[in-house]
């Protein structure tokens, strides 16, 4: 089965109202080219589940979002995501605000086909008071109450990987795959953009196969988009684009706002976008951050 497709093919499989998980973490290894393709589409009313960064901010700014399931939305070095803030402060989106670890549990519950996983996380906080849909349950084994973190079932997950073969074997070569394996497992369909398509033989080396964090049966489609994580990082290949994120954040304070940002950068397709941000070589030359 050849699972190669285009970003447009991916967006053609999305529907209004879907729940979409997005891999990566803050400004790190986000499937931004796929997000941009959604920006170019008329898809709307999405529920987004994400360890959020500009993916969430841009989709909010573009009016694509009905609800965000989040523990944070941040660009790390710019702590507050400008367009997510605007959306929250204007009351234009619904939210399910949870703890980072609760999100992991919710993805695992969905992956394992169970309705919830108990945790004490959230007890005593506004996580439980502001989320009436998250139930607190008794345990048959003790006298405590426990948060029943519900499964976060996803219609679709979008992930950016370093490499993939055309059958959907995906490799994350950087030091951290974040929760992307759980996003892949929690979703009915998972679409993966990657910096590089490789032959299946690439993975025969156990050292390479170790970096394949979910099975190809969890991958619905793969899209080769070199530099597709820009402006987020794809360690070890390239870092996140600090000047670009500053321009993005700055746009929120300008009158033209997000539309101005889009007009400057988005383009009609990824080729145009990459030209607008200086080209693929410039993306690949972005230094890795030091933490």
């Amino acid at each position: 089965m050849n699972k190669q497709m285009t970003a447009a093919d991916v967006v053609a499989q999305l529907e209004d109202g879907m729940t979409i998980g997005i891999g990566g973490w803050g400004p790190r290894r986000k499937p931004m080219a796929l997000v941009r393709e959604i920006l170019r589409s008329d898809i709307k009313d999405l529920t987004i589940v994400s360890y959020g960064g500009a993916d969430v901010g841009m989709l909010c700014a573009a009016g694509k979002v009905k609800k965000v399931v989040f523990a944070f939305v941040s660009l790390d070095f710019i702590p507050l995501e400008p367009y997510f803030r605007k959306a929250r402060q204007s009351g234009s989106i619904e939210v399910m605000e949870i703890d980072e670890g609760m999100m992991l549990l919710g993805l695992r519950a969905a992956a394992w086909g169970v309705p919830y996983i108990p945790t004490e996380v959230g007890l005593g906080t506004d996580i439980v008071t502001k989320n009436p849909d998250i139930k607190v349950v008794d345990s048959p084994y003790d006298d405590k109450e426990w948060v029943a973190m519900p499964a976060l079932k996803l219609d679709v997950s979008l992930i950016h990987a370093d490499r993939a073969d055309d059958r959907g074997v995906c490799q994350i070569a950087g030091p951290d795959h974040y929760m992307d394996d759980w996003f892949a497992r929690a979703a009915d369909k998972t679409f993966v953009s990657c910096d590089e398509m490789v032959d299946s033989q690439y993975f025969h080396d156990p050292a390479q196969a170790r970096l394949v964090h979910w099975e190809r049966s969890q991958t619905t489609g793969v899209v080769e988009i070199a530099g597709g994580a820009h402006p987020t990082s794809c360690s070890p290949a390239y870092g996140f684009d600090v000047p670009h994120f500053k321009a993005y954040t700055g746009s929120a304070k300008e009158e033209t706002g997000f539309q101005g940002y889009l007009d400057t950068f988005l383009g009609a397709n990824e080729e145009e976008y990459q030209q607008n941000v200086g080209g693929l070589d410039a993306i690949r030359a972005i230094e890795l951050p030091t933490y």
């Binding site: 006298d143 405590k144 974040y178 933490y291």
Partner: protein, 266 residues
């Protein structure tokens, strides 16, 4: 061990904050921000070599990394893979101590990192979100660093959004005791506090040189428990300053407290 005569307030805070980790044994020390991270690094290199720290990415280290760009000859002392998903196995094991900087800390030790003012549906100011605060606060010890001690941080009433559980009897979950909650030190630009007062009231532990208990109370919107003579926060030693300088070669600590004041004020 020679006490330094010349040090910044940031360095004083780092040394004071490092004490939070001294008796922790073998736990993951997570210091978010320059001063907490240097505090954990200092503790790991002096008072508690059993501490564990990460590279803030995906590796546990046997020696902490200096902050900022490191020379090409720097060999990172990895000891195990520690991707973000594995952090939670540590959080939930309780074998972790985090030091963080919330935006609000109320009289219960509850904190807010999420939203200020307005309604929850449309807050006046949206901040980071709850992040890992709910899990940290119920799973393991936590300390706080506050670079500007004022009544906006240590505010009146209850936090606008409670991101982390504190000593609030009204929010105590069934089957839990307030003693299960373990807030350790609060290090600010004025003083060191904890929640060791009567009924988990916030308590003054030490005053930074030149600061008075009255100043602390004035900048805290709820009563601070003050008992007996409050000691002065211990000045760094030359050895400690040398380690701090080694761990912060680009002097990022100079930018953490407004105007980078000297440690001895007034």
């Amino acid at each position: 061990m020679t006490v330094a005569s010349d040090y910044t307030l940031a360095e004083l805070c780092i040394v004071a904050a490092s004490k939070a980790f001294a008796n922790d044994g073998e736990v993951l020390a997570t210091g978010i921000g320059v001063i907490p991270r240097l505090a954990a690094s200092l503790a790991m290199k002096t008072s508690n070599p059993d501490l564990m720290m990460t590279d803030s990415e995906a590796w546990m280290l046997s020696e902490p990394n200096p902050i900022g760009k490191r020379g090409d000859d720097h060999v990172q002392a990895n000891e195990s893979w520690m991707g973000f998903s594995r952090i939670f196995d540590n959080v939930w094991s309780g074998r972790r101590h985090a030091m963080l900087g919330p935006t609000q800390i109320d009289k219960y030790g509850q904190t807010n990192t999420s939203a200020l003012g307005g309604t929850y549906e449309a807050p006046k100011v949206m901040m980071l979100g709850a992040r890992g605060f709910p899990g940290n606060s119920i799973s393991h010890p936590n300390s706080f660093f506050v670079p500007s001690h004022n009544t906006r941080v240590f505010m009146e009433g209850e936090c606008d959004f409670v991101s982390s559980i504190g000593y609030n009897p009204e929010r105590l979950p069934k089957g839990h005791s307030l003693d299960d909650i373990d807030i350790r030190l609060i290090v600010t630009d004025l003083c060191v506090m904890d929640f060791g007062g009567p009924d988990h009231q916030v308590r003054l532990v030490s005053l930074h040189p030149g600061i008075t208990a009255a100043q602390v109370q004035e900048n805290t919107a709820y009563p601070v428990f003050v008992e007996g003579d409050i000691p002065t926060t211990e000045a760094p030693t030359l050895e400690q300053l040398a380690i701090i300088a080694e761990m912060d070669p680009h002097n990022q600590r100079a930018y953490q407290i407004k105007d980078n004041p000297a440690g001895e004020r007034g």
